[in-house]
């Protein structure tokens, strides 16, 4: 069969299916009052079982705030400690800590 003719026929069938789907979309189903009651029963059950998402997110935000405060205190105390021991001590500590790192072996001019 001619390819163009076949393509045309496929177009027609495709158009028929498209129209069939549009027809289907025009018919909204009617839900019974029992269906609505079932949905509401489930919604109430969910409401009593789990805290609403807003409550969950409030808890998450509170936890995040606590973590932020603790981190700030920790950083603050480290800074205060290093200030008390002087820059030289801090430099020695830092040198000791990084002495064996691979980064130090890659420094230019080193054997």
């Amino acid at each position: 069969m001619n390819t163009a003719r076949r393509e045309e026929q496929i177009d027609t069938l495709e158009h028929a299916l498209m129209r069939a789907h549009q027809v289907k979309m025009q018919d909204a189903p009617h839900f019974s009052p029992e269906w609505a009651q079932d949905v509401m029963r489930d919604v109430r059950r969910q409401a009593s079982r789990e805290p609403p998402s807003s409550e969950v997110s409030r808890v998450i935000w509170r936890a995040a705030a606590v973590v932020a405060v603790v981190s700030t205190l920790l950083v603050g105390s480290v800074l205060a400690w290093t200030a008390g021991h002087g820059d030289d001590d801090f430099f020695v500590l830092l040198t000791m800590a990084t002495a064996d790192s691979t980064f130090s072996t890659l420094l230019p001019g080193e054997p």
Partner: protein
């Protein structure tokens, strides 16, 4: 009867705008959710009926409203509530197909998906000389069954894309928003899925001309 319905409307906050109902439901007045249910059951029903088999419409629409309730605190009021609800409905339908597909329970259409019936249908559609005759044909149950049968051969992803973009006429961007996918993904799938659908129709023509 009317007064009973009226009482139900007042109790469910039907006179209130969506935004007010949503804020109060989120604040804990769960019963007011019924107002949204009554207001949008047809909207959701239409979407669900267009995507899932008849026997799963009630169950899927039920699931859509429960999901909507659970996600209500995340609704940002930036888009109309109906649009937000549509995305939940479309994604729930997609989940239905994924679930059916994973259990290998995809319905292949009604009894008319037999080759003989398909051939008859093809013959009649192609021979339809007037627009009225064509419209009569597409309203027949055979067409719906054939559509169901053709779509059943697609993956859940391709099925959703072909339905939204080609059958319902949504733009790629709209379909991507509804499904929560990237536009590129939808664009690639839309092209591929349409080719697949045309191949299925070509096979049908092959049967018809054999």
């Amino acid at each position: 009867m009317e007064s009973v319905a009226g009482c139900r409307m007042v109790a469910s906050g039907s006179g209130l705008p969506d935004e007010a109902i949503i804020r109060r439901v989120v604040a804990g007045e769960v019963d007011l959710f019924e107002g949204l249910l009554m207001r949008y059951e047809h909207h959701v029903g239409r979407i669900v009926a267009a995507h899932v088999p008849r026997e799963l419409i009630d169950e899927t629409a039920h699931d859509v409203f429960v999901r909507a309730y659970m996600s209500l605190p995340t609704y940002s009021f930036r888009t109309p509530f109906s649009h937000w609800l549509s995305t939940i409905a479309v994604r729930s339908c997609y989940d239905v197909w994924r679930s059916l597909s994973s259990r290998k329970e995809v319905p292949l259409g009604g009894p008319s998906d037999a080759v003989e019936k398909q051939e008859q249908w093809t013959e009649h559609v192609l021979a339809a000389e007037s627009k009225d005759r064509f419209d009569t044909m597409v309203r027949q149950r055979d067409t719906a069954n054939l559509l169901q049968g053709a779509l059943a051969q697609l993956s859940p992803e391709n099925r959703m894309v072909v339905t939204l973009v080609h059958l319902e006429g949504h733009s790629v961007r709209e379909a991507a928003e509804l499904l929560g996918w990237t536009t590129i993904n939808v664009k690639v799938r839309a092209h591929r899925a349409r080719q697949q659908l045309r191949k299925i129709l070509d096979t049908l023509l092959g049967n018809h001309h054999a």
